[in-house]
Symmetry: C2
Subunit: 325 residues, 2 copies
């Protein structure tokens, strides 16, 4: 009987083979201070050191690499104002195709410039009046482009899962894995890899308090929509889980921890001053949950915890505003 | 005939065996952007990830580990307001002895607290009226303590050299090694290791423009004293090279690059935004020299460059003041 699950451990392992030598095998850092504060051994997977500064390159590259030669000749499209934009632009360049990225007119100039620097064409829209999905889809249909979605695709999810795959390959047994949740692609892929390799592992998602759509959806047993979250963790400001990602996450997640913006700032400072690494707010939320002891406090005490730090794209100015001001 | 040099490759290798499993074998990072800007392959040795946040732990631990059991029972002393203070305090704790650290009354509270947190006794003095060397020596004589100097000791120098030893062991052949110069211990040990392993390598020191005592001394052929430098690179604000370190450096260094504080700020920002790592000003000076194309511009174009980033101890507030304000 064929495996009916949309993403399997084998899919993640196949993705790992595809991204090898193109994506970075990011370092796993330890911190004695963190271990003491968490009361456990903590293994930190540093996706802030990934190409484009975030895990997003893993999924984008895996997805683009599986397109047909014919499709690669036509090009690809994506809509994103964040790390997925740069990830798709770089994946396109690496694979010899062209990318069109739909970005809001008021996206931070640094992000627009970084995306353009990878050779992508930028199409802007007014996010108060325009619908980026409709614009992206019309554009893709007109030009025959393949859309690379930020999380709602098995190849994207399998690619993101390579972060957890690498972590477990490197450090071995873990009893708990902590992963931030935005659209749910990183944790869906990571949970698939982690539970495939270590059936007893607990996988805990982390959402910002203001963006608890996945927690609410898990509690309701169906996808629940919330008002657009106001949080500094812009990469986790989803208002509804993805359909595909939720179908995986409802099966694999053992819990969700919520963290407020103040805890995220504290974690960004901890990462900066104690670990000497730069994290954007979404990238620090897993660390924030750990430092605030929000990882399933009612469950068994974890002894070996893996935490995925998802990204580090933040300007020195914005960092100063949030943490050092 | 015995080797008459004060520090040899074998000494650095012996130090590496002593610090193994106690000091971190710090990661070597790459950055495609840095390679493009430098026009060479650059291998970055991240001593900001070392224990206590700087290379200083290597030399302190090596030196303390070689004291007699009798001396360890009596304790050790050091004078420093910077990273050496924490390094000696931690080395003492790791080796089961006690440390007294002489620090100025107005040292940053965070540094005093970090040093005390490792279990050291802090003795303060007024740096406008007191002489820290005299205070340290009197105290050491009174209590029978061994002084662990920040750079003027073969065991300290050999320990610092393990940074370059590890780098070359990991990445193989390099044609150029770039190392910051303060008192000269890090570069003396690193040059000893590098030239021992790769006789053709060029070793270039980096000093802040305002603190060019080693450059002037090399040009004069003798140790030259300059006014106390005013620079943001506080770890490199030496006003005269060490006697022992200069005797090594005059023999082994191929040149000195100077960088201004603005270039150092640029490099701190580059490290933060592009490499996602935190560097204190002294820790960024090697990177600054590279980004400003100050590495021996008249010499042969380097193809494979190693750079030691010496430390990352800076508060979020101070970073914001220098870079993100």
């Amino acid at each position: 009987m064929p495996d009916s699950r949309p993403v399997t451990l084998q899919d993640v392992q196949d993705a790992a083979a595809r991204i090898e030598g193109v994506a970075h095998r990011t370092p796993v850092l330890r911190s004695r201070t963190l271990d003491e504060l968490a009361g456990a051994q903590v293994f930190v997977k540093c996706e802030n050191f990934q190409r484009v500064g975030a895990f997003k390159f893993r999924g984008a590259y895996n997805a683009v690499s599986r397109l047909s030669a014919e499709q690669l000749a036509k090009g690809i499209a994506a809509y994103s104002s964040g790390n997925h934009a740069q990830a798709v632009a770089l994946a396109a360049r690496e694979l010899g195709t062209t990318a069109v990225i739909v970005m809001p007119q008021d996206a931070p100039r640094s992000k627009v410039e970084a995306t353009a620097a990878y050779g992508a064409e930028i199409v802007t829209y007014d996010r108060y009046t325009g619908d980026r999905v409709a614009i992206g889809e019309t554009l893709a249909a007109d030009r025959g482009l393949a859309i690379v979605p930020p999380y709602e695709h098995p190849h994207v999810i399998a690619g993101q899962g390579t972060a957890a795959l690498e972590l477990i390959e490197e450090v071995g047994d873990l009893d708990t894995l902590v992963v931030p949740v935005g659209g749910g692609g990183l944790i869906a892929g990571s949970a698939t890899a982690a539970k495939g390799l270590l059936p007893g592992i607990r996988v805990i998602g982390v959402e910002p308090e203001a963006g608890d759509d996945t927690l609410r959806s898990l509690e309701a047993g169906r996808r629940v929509s919330i008002p657009v979250p106001r949080t500094i963790a812009d990469g986790q400001a989803a208002d509804i889980p993805g359909e595909l990602t939720f179908s995986i996450n409802r099966r694999l997640l053992d819990g969700i921890a919520l963290v407020g913006d103040d805890r995220i700032r504290d974690a960004m400072r901890f990462a900066f001053e104690r670990m000497k690494i730069v994290l954007e707010p979404s990238g620090a939320s897993g660390l924030a949950a750990l430092l605030a002891h929000r990882i399933d406090p009612a469950g068994p005490a974890p002894r070996r915890i893996g935490v995925v730090l998802s990204g580090g794209n933040i300007s020195a100015e914005r960092f100063a505003e949030l943490v050092g001001g």
